[in-house]
Structures are given as C-alpha cells and as structure tokens.
Subunit: 177 residues, 2 copies
C-alpha cells in the first residue's frame, strides 16, 4: 500500500492520534487506511459417514483436496457465503447448514468459519470452475496428506471426533502455524 | 476507492475474469482491490447477575451504552481482540473468555463476535479513552433504550435468556436492519 486510494497521494506510516498501531495515513486528504483480517467461510457437506471434498484447480495448493470455502463478500451473511462457495466449487446446494467451527489464523490475518450441512439431492455434485474433481470420502478414507489448508484439516479432525462420539458442538481453535 | 493503492493510477470497475462481482481493478498494474466484511470482536463481562457496560465517549452513538468491542486487528486472534478491547474501553482484564455469539450484519459489511468472560479482580474497572463511564448493570436494569448497537442488544438478549435458563450455548443471528 503506497498510494491513497481516495486521492492518489503518497501514503506515510505512523500511529494516528488516539490509536495504538502504525497505519497507512494520507497527510493530503486525512484518510487512514486500516488493514484488517479477512473472513473465509465454508461448508462441511455430510452424507452419512462421508464428507465432500473438492480437488483444487487453482493455486494456492492446486491438486490438493479442500472443503468448499472462500472469502466472505460484502452484503452476504457468513452462512450465505458458505452456501455460495459450495455452489461455486461443487455445483451443489446446501440444506440444513449449521454453524460448526471458527478458527483463527492470526499469522495470515484470517478467520475461517465452517458450517456443517447436507446437500439437496435434487442437485448433482460436479466440479465448479475452481475444482478439477469433487468426491465423497468416508471419514476413514480422508486423504490427510493431500489436504490444502490447516483449517480444513482441523475441521475434519473436529468433525471426525464429534462423529465418533455422536455429539456435535461448536469448535474454536487458534491455528498459528 | 478511486486510485490504485499499489501504483497510484485511476481504478476502473468491472467483473474480472473468473469472478462474479464487480471489483475495483487497476488496468495499469493489474491489481484487483477486493472489499470484504470486517470483524468486530467484543466481550460480555459478567459478575454474578451483572454485566459491564461502557458509555461511549465517541461517535457513533456517543453517550449510549455498549459492550466493550471494536475492530479485529491483523495479527491477533478474535479472542485476543476482544480482550484488548475490554482493556482499552474499561481498563479491565478478562479471564475465562468463552466464545459466545456470532452475529451477521451484512447491510454494513460486518461480522460481530462476542466472548462471555469474567474479570480479574486484581485489576480495577475504569473508563478508557473511548468511554466516559463504565458500570455494572443487573440484567433486570439494562438500559435497553440507551444501547449503542443492535449487536450489543442481541448479545444482551441472548445472555439474559441463557441466564434465566442457566444454560449457555453459542448463538448466531443475522441482524439485517
């Protein structure tokens, strides 16, 4: 961030009055340009003892498996974002989406939120533009060494443990590596 | 957003290839400037049947009561942000913070997250720079008509109902007005 997005002048960096962190500030128009964490939202699509994973067509981690997830957009709820990502990446329609987990990833300035859901059987399951494949995996057959993201791994660990105990609660973890 | 923060050129607005939303794009350096929701994180400080509220010293809603909360910063977990906000606004130290609620506010592009917590009795409770007063309120005495934000109202409604039933669960709501 070098230039003011409001007026185009060079930015400078300092701690503004009544603040405690260094910000990018425009001394020409006075705008303070805050940089804050992003929310990633996704689904854990479930069918009996199976979960749906998508093989990533794009970087980062092309070729690895992931739960359908992506950045929350302005104007949508976190659940709506998760449902949209499922549609985009697996051409599937979520039903019964339930808040399941929130994971902090402070080292990459992200918060990842997952909903467990079932799929509307009137829709198929097909790779979307960001996927080369979508497959149902039994929990015993999850490709643990081929997962794209730490948060996806944690969601599948939490879900597998809950499923073993037939007791589902909301999970939070700080994933700082 | 008019100018590219990376190179300073004028931005144009269109839907980039493989995207589905209009973005601010720099045709000079190729940067796509996404705009995404912000996370607000806060505490519900509890002492028996009382909750701690702060009287806002600043706009918006100066003079109204709020739970200590503010924007999540890069590099901190959502819980760390909530604990920091409590320190900044009420000069208090949280202990036993537990994830309590996530509220969507899609119309203002925000997600509000609250932790219920107790306070370390070795620290006092005093107004921080953004507060003119901090007070413990019994749940029956919450100033419902003088609350600053819808999400604070919802958090206090959810907490009061849970307290009545002596059963605390995680809450989610979409607050779209």
């Amino acid at each position: 961030m070098k230039y003011c997005s409001a007026c185009g002048h060079f930015l400078v960096e300092y701690i503004p009055k009544n603040d405690h962190l260094v910000r990018h500030v425009c001394d020409h128009c006075g705008t303070i340009h805050y940089q804050n964490p992003l929310v990633v939202t996704g689904c854990i699509p479930i069918d009996g003892d199976r979960v749906l994973l998508c093989k990533r067509a794009i970087e980062p981690h092309a070729g690895k498996w992931t739960l359908p997830a992506g950045f929350l957009e302005n104007g949508e709820s976190v659940m709506q974002g998760a449902v949209r990502e499922l549609k985009e990446e697996a051409c599937a329609q979520a039903i019964d989406a339930q808040f399941y987990a929130m994971y902090d990833l402070p080292h990459i300035h992200q918060v990842h939120i997952f909903y467990r859901c079932h799929l509307d059987i009137n829709y198929g399951v097909n790779p979307g533009i960001e996927s080369t494949d979508v497959q149902w995996f039994r929990l015993q057959e999850i490709p643990w060494n081929e997962l794209a993201f730490q948060s996806v791994r944690q969601a599948l660990i939490d879900y597998s443990a809950d499923r073993d105990q037939q007791s589902f609660s909301v999970h939070t973890h700080c994933i700082s590596h």
